[in-house]
Symmetry: C2
Subunit: 117 residues, 2 copies
């Protein structure tokens, strides 16, 4: 019996990354992380400037904790999950297709598949 079409792609864990692709991936990863951290810095300045009540202090504390744990969880550089990480970053607008130049078609296809999950 022939495999269904959606099962013919190489599993993500078996994708091989060339040195040039690893370099491009690392660059895109760091670019998105920098953008997200810069956005977080802008947001914390904006939020803190508007605090008027003590409850605002502890809301800011909780928000920072959520930001820190969320960022730690999202930015996972293992190659076995990197297509999913890039799919998330594309969906969130932290990366554009252009930022992923340098990745081969198999990686771009794996990212597109992950984006459909």
């Amino acid at each position: 019996m022939a495999s269904p079409a959606h099962c013919t792609a190489v599993p993500v864990s078996e994708i091989r990354w060339s040195p040039a692709e690893k370099s491009a991936a690392r660059k895109a990863f760091e670019l998105a992380l920098d953008r997200e951290l810069e956005a977080t810095i802008r947001q914390v300045k904006h939020t803190a400037a508007k605090i008027e009540e003590p409850s605002g202090l502890w809301e800011l504390e909780r928000w920072l904790t959520e930001r820190r744990t969320g960022i730690e969880r999202k930015y996972d550089y293992r190659y076995s999950v990197l297509p999913l990480v890039f799919a998330t970053l594309l969906r969130e607008g932290r990366l554009t297709d252009d930022d992923l130049r340098g990745l081969g078609q198999d990686k771009l296809e794996a990212i597109r598949r992950a984006a459909r999950w």
Copy 2:
């Protein structure tokens, strides 16, 4: 054998607080807490405005956690520890002697004793 002079005072746990003294104590307690929270709001605005690096985000998070737990620990309204709480607040400059008007001599003496610890 006569008790040493420093043992003649009524133990803090046995001090009786009149309704008027309880009201004065609550007022001073809330005043100090409001001042400390307002100072924390001013400080968080000042600190956040100066953040330039991502590390500053997580330092601010840690500082807010320390402030929250420190404030929760310090502002303990049990009458058995209130003289010690007021002694701390006087030492930190969050209360003045004038803010404690309305407390009887036995309470003021207990606060002075606590301040010497």
